[in-house]
Every structure is written in C-alpha cells, then in structure tokens.
C-alpha cells in the first residue's frame, strides 16, 4: 500500500512497504519551553521558520505542525504557523489537531496534500474529522485509542482500528490514505509496552497491509539516555513494518537509515553510503582538511 503526500509546491513523498522509512520531524510543537513555543504565543514566526528549515536540512521528509496547548488559539495560530513553515520549505505537512474549525482553516490554506493527525475510535472525533479529510483529500492518521482509553493488548487495539476503518470506508476515504498509529507508550512505566505496540503493528500489517506510523520518542519517557532507547526502538519498529516515524530527524536519521538498510529497504546500501560520503565531505569542508 502506498500513501502519497505532497508539499505546497508539489514536492511528493511516498510512504510504503519496501521504501525508506519516511521521517516526520516532530519539533514544531508547543510542548516544553523554548523559541518554538514562544513563537506560537507571540506571533513572531522567525523561530518556526528556522526550525522548519533545520529539520528538513537534517533529513525530515514531512514536518509535523502542532499548536494545541493552553493559551493558544488553534484556529488563529495553526494557519500562521503553517504559512511560516511553507515560506521556507516545500515538504508535506502533518497537521496535528482535533479542532475541526482549526483544521478547516488550515486545510483551506492550500498546503498541497497533507496528513491529518489523528482520529481515534471515538464517535464525535470521527464525525468531526472524517468529512474534512474526505473534502480536502488528505491522508489521515488513525490512532488505536477510543473513549475508554488505549487498549492494553494488541487484540483490543486491532479492534479499535477495525472500527475506525469501517467509518473511513463509509465516508469514502481510500484505504491507502490511512496511516495507522498503534501507539508507543513509555517503557519506563510498563516493560511490556513496546511489545504490545510491535505485536499490534504486525497484526495490522498482516490483516490490512496498511502503512504504519508511530511517535517513536514516547517509548523513552522517564528513562535516561533517551536517544539510545529511541534508536533501538526505531529499529524494532521498522522491522515490525513501520513505514513513517515521528522523530527528531537530527538525532534519528542515521539510525532510521541503518535499520532500513538492514531490513532490505535500501538496495545496495546506496542511501546509507551516500549519506556517509556527504557527511564526510562536509566534515572535511569544515575542518579544511583534504
């Protein structure tokens, strides 16, 4: 199954089996403190532009945009942030919001073909978001969670996805537009958490062959040396069928590429070796050595 998304000026990204894992840069969000969050409250979009350019330079194929936080008016700020991102880069966007009014305003900007993230199995969420996704012809993240929470076992999560698919089918949203998020949770709290996520992914892939996406940084919450944990998990998830990962590209790109190579998604290792040569050339340039 192939999901094709596009940037505002036509840049196409294909998510699919056997292809390199698509990286969704996670950094434009209002969590924590820093210039990005500040930009969302002050309206000075310069830090957003800088972060967008930095992530794409670091290897992000798609950029996630999320402004949903206390004190931020999503309907007003989401389009502003998206415009700032589109000023500097032509990559598809992954718009993270469940506010239909904000999403509608965002989708009317004309940002190519984005991904809307995300619907759960909750009736009101599906009713609010699916018509927008259909109308604007976007891709969509389906999250394995419903009104009673995130099911603890793979079978429960698969059932939630099944119910979401019934609704997307009924709305006329093609299956190839769906990216399933099987939910990565903190392993610090429950040491079976990653196993449940990976099992669910394998089942979803076996049953429907859908594309799979994950917020891969959640697994390391509450642990030291998070990057190491994230990298190990990313490799396992790619083996379990992950085709798109929400990550910090600056740290995760080499690991994603290495995992792709190991599972046969990088024929003759062209991508990995090219990346290595480019990096070396850059280092030589910086140090002035031949």
């Amino acid at each position: 199954m192939k999901t094709i998304v596009r940037g505002p000026r036509g840049k196409e990204v294909v998510i699919g089996d056997g292809l390199p894992t698509v990286l969704l840069g996670e950094r434009i969000n209002p969590f924590g403190k820093g210039p990005v969050k500040e930009a969302m409250t002050t309206g000075n979009m310069e830090p957003i532009r800088a972060e967008a350019a930095r992530q794409v330079e670091a290897g992000a194929d798609v950029l996630l945009v999320s402004v949903s936080a206390f004190g931020i008016d999503e309907v007003r700020v989401l389009p502003l942030v998206m415009e700032a991102v589109m000023d500097v880069v032509d990559v598809p966007l992954c718009i993270e919001s469940r506010n239909p009014e904000a999403l509608d305003a965002a989708l009317r900007l004309g940002c190519g073909k984005p991904i809307v993230s995300s619907v759960t199995g909750e009736g009101p969420v599906l009713a609010a978001l699916l018509p927008l996704v259909k109308e604007h012809g976007t891709a969509l993240v389906a999250l394995a969670s419903d009104a009673s929470g995130i099911p603890k076992d793979p079978a429960g999560r698969v059932e939630v996805i099944r119910r979401i698919l019934e609704q997307t089918d009924a709305t006329g949203i093609p299956r190839e537009e769906i990216l399933v998020d099987c939910v990565a949770e903190a392993s610090a709290v429950n040491d079976k958490a990653a196993g449940v996520t990976l099992d669910t992914m394998e089942r979803v892939r076996a049953e429907w062959g859908l594309n799979l996406v994950l917020g891969a940084s959640n697994v390391s919450f509450g642990l030291p040396d998070r990057m190491t944990v994230n990298a190990a998990f990313l490799a396992l998830a790619i083996k379990a069928g992950l085709t798109a990962a929400i990550v910090n590209p600056t740290t995760m790109l080499p690991y994603a590429m290495a995992a792709d190579l190991l599972v046969g998604r990088d024929p003759r290792s062209r991508r990995f070796t090219t990346y290595h040569r480019k990096r070396k050339a850059k280092e030589r340039e910086q140090t002035g050595q031949p």
Binding site: F31, S68, A69, F70, G71, S145, A147, S148, G149, I150, E185, A186, A188, V189, N190, F221, G222, L223, P224
Partner: protein
C-alpha cells in the same frame, strides 16, 4: 534510625533490604521504626529522582520495595501506634481525557507512601468528582489530565466543588502532560505537581506524613 537499612533501600537493593527487615523483625525491632526508616529511604529516593540520578523505573522499584516492607511489618503494628493511614486522597483523570499512565504512578506512589487513596479512573465526569468528594471526604484532590481540553474540565470540576460547598478545607493539586503553574491559576487549583514525587511532597506538606 538504621542507616544501613535506609541506604540499602535507597540504593534499591531489594533482596538485601527484605532480608534485613526480616532479621530486624526476628530480633524484636519495633516495626514502627522499620516503617519510619523505609519512609526516610523513600525521601532519599525522591531526592535522587529530582536530581535526575533516579528515573521512573527506579521510583516504581522503590515503591515496590516499600510495599513489600509494609506488607511484612503492618500486621505487627497496633492501630494505636500510628499504623493507620495518614490522610485521604481522591485521584482521577478529568472529563474528556483518557490518559492514565501518570495518574496510575501517582496513585501507586501515594498509596505506598501511606495515604488512603481512592482512584476513580479516567474520563471522570464533573458530577462524579463532586459525589465522590462528598462520600470519601478527602483532604486532597488530585486532578490528572494530559490533553488541552483537560484544562476546562479541571476548571469546571473545581467550580462545581465550590458550588457544592466542598471546596473549603480541600487542597487540590493538578498534574499531567501539559499542566503548569499557568494552568493551575486558570483552573484555580492550589498546586501543580510535575511528577509523582511532587504529588507525595505536596501531600506531606498539606496533611503530614
């Protein structure tokens, strides 16, 4: 005060800690002093957690050790000696929000720290919070939430408690993903706690223990 026991437990040496507790009980040590030492060890663990030397799995591990000690020691303590619970805490994730991981850790840490905790789950309607506050009579109410929509649910929950004349004398703390002191002001809670250790410290401050 038994420094060796405190250090063993604070270093999360589960087997050695339990063995030592068994020996102390066998040699006739007052069970109340064992519990006091375990509590001191938890304070050390909490400090190490705050200093990023310990992490969530360490915290949970310490909680499990404390639980084990309590189980061994409790039957040997008479109520009069202060084995009763230190105070009542009502915990729940507010309406519209289904996140439970942080809440579950808070419930666990408060429970092992000696508080009587009633956890009423996730997506708890405003009316249920009011009803349970009336029945359970907690000294502390802990509202959990991760989503931005939790802010308004928290605000409504606290307003409903005011309307029901249950707010006076009740301390309310909030916590979860995107909470901070700004949200605390907005929802009119008494405190924001950034993690389970903060929740235990707030309860200590408010109701002792």
């Amino acid at each position: 005060m038994n420094d060796k026991l405190i250090n063993l437990m604070a270093d999360l040496q589960e087997e050695e800690t339990m063995k030592m507790v068994e020996e102390l009980i066998a040699s006739g040590t007052d069970p109340v002093t064992i519990l006091d030492d375990a509590r001191r060890a938890m304070e050390v663990v909490g400090k190490r957690f705050e200093q990023c030397e310990y992490f969530i799995p360490d915290l949970m591990m310490a909680g499990e050790i404390l639980q084990g000690i309590t189980k061994m020691v409790k039957p040997r303590i008479k109520q009069a000696q202060g084995a009763g619970k230190k105070g009542r805490v009502l915990v729940g994730t507010v309406a519209g929000d289904i996140h439970d991981i942080g809440k579950d850790i808070v419930t666990f840490m408060l429970d092992v720290s000696g508080y009587e905790v009633l956890d009423i789950g996730i997506d708890v309607p405003v009316e249920t919070f009011v009803e349970k506050t009336r029945e359970f009579k907690p000294q502390v109410l802990a509202l959990s939430g991760f989503l931005t929509l939790a802010f308004d649910s928290m605000k409504k929950t606290i307003e409903a408690l005011v309307a029901a004349n249950l707010r006076d004398g009740l301390k309310i703390m909030i916590g979860g993903g995107q909470m901070d002191d700004e949200v605390r002001k907005y929802v009119r809670a008494d405190a924001y706690g950034k993690d389970a250790v903060a929740a235990v410290n707030l309860c200590r401050e408010w109701i002792g223990g």
